[in-house]
Symmetry: C2
DNA sequence: CGGTGGGTTGAGGTATTTCAAGGCTCGTGG
DNA sequence: CCACGAGCCTTGAAATACCTCAACCCACCG
């Protein structure tokens, strides 16, 4: 199940997406692959690396002592995750499907930010946009109904990963539930309701390919 | 009910707490007072100022169209709030009690950060600590029971505002409820249970002065 | 003194969870 | 090639944590 996590291969410098101003620095390492279900880093571990998803999908979450789980974000192709201001990760990150990531040493990054105000601004922007996502998610978790939560989730995923009108979700119902603060059954029921209302359709024989038929019907629910 | 919000008095430079490296810059304006219940700024308004609570308490929240409210944070003496990376506020902020704030122009701040890496780092640190708080709060809102939420709230307030063993809460039960994603009745019942268990005591004739009698009893609940 | 703004408590309702059963797909191994 | 189990999803029925509605209390204040 687990790949050998501790071997982070060094390599030649590359682009790191939004941090493209870093192209020619030595902080960047090469790509790395994780099998579906593999842990990329654990909560409270030293935050040595910053990651970018090249292909695949990642969930990051916190656990309560009795196993209750709250997923705070899904990271899709292009997304940067594991960016910490402190010394340790505050989440566990796992590959949802087979996933390729690129990584950079955090300390190098912090060191560069000291002198390069462009990079410093990028770090602030990324942290601020994580914060903004968290703020919206608090409203969802604290005050929205199950149907509203699922509608908001679908709109978010539609925005982030729809290709050719088809939303191919990488995550299972349990992941969605733990993201939305619900149970997997409640998520399933909500999707069934939206399906019955003609707001979405399922494609193929899997239940993870979704087509939004009535985006405004969803938007009404996303108060 | 509302004070004249649009007049922000200019004044001589002062310290702004954590941003103390800014002492000699012209970005800082003088103090300003808001009456209990007054709006300090509204969601989606231009984020012209950054605030620091001198005395009093502030709540910042988002509203759904039908009036459901999610308070994302309480700002107490010393706290900085209204710090946005974008152009507009993403929350409404209101004085919970009569409150004195100090304020700084955001644009000046951003301008200073361009050149002063110390200030830039402070901005990042503050944003990161807001993010950390939001991340913990997502776990609370998504996965904790009402008793656990109230216990966590009490521990947070104990840490932030207890003086001489007494926690004098500035906010009412409804505010606590909207912070914790509950109703005011549920908050009240949870406090009664903790009182009955001998974990906390009420002081005086008001129900807002709380003494923690058994902090470890609370910690057990704060999983 | 009456009204308003908290706060508590009870009774009943309900959205969501929990428990349980069943279906489908897919990989694996006899 | 088929049987089998594992993983995932859906759906129903029952349980429950929390919400809603309502009554009441107390302090404060004009």
């Amino acid at each position: 199940m687990f790949v050998n996590l501790n071997v982070k291969p060094a390599g030649r410098p590359r682009f790191l997406g939004e941090l493209s101003s870093l192209t020619q620095c030595e902080a960047l390492l090469s790509e790395f692959k994780y099998n579906r279900g593999a842990e990329i880093f654990g909560e409270a571990e030293p935050a040595d690396f910053v990651y970018q998803v090249i292909e695949g999908a990642v969930r990051s979450y916190k656990l309560l002592s009795d196993g209750r789980r709250q997923i705070n974000a899904f990271h899709l192709a292009g997304d940067i995750f594991g960016l910490e201001n402190g010394e340790t990760y505050r989440f566990t990150a796992e590959a949802i499907v087979d996933t390729t990531v690129r990584l950079a040493r955090r300390v190098s990054l912090a060191h560069i930010a000291e002198t390069d105000t462009m990079v410093a601004r990028h770090l602030l922007n990324m942290t601020a946009s994580n914060l903004q996502h968290a703020e919206n998610h608090m409203l969802l978790l604290g005050r929205k109904t199950s149907l509203e939560r699922v509608a908001a989730f679908l709109l978010e995923m539609d925005r982030r990963l729809t290709a050719a009108g088809i939303m191919a979700l990488p995550m299972c119902r349990r992941d969605i539930a733990d993201y939305l603060g619900l149970t997997l059954e409640t998520v399933s029921r909500a999707l069934s309701i939206l399906h019955a209302k003609g707001i979405l359709g399922f494609l193929g024989q899997t239940q993870r390919q979704i087509v939004l038929l009535d985006r405004s019907g969803l938007a009404e629910l996303d108060i």
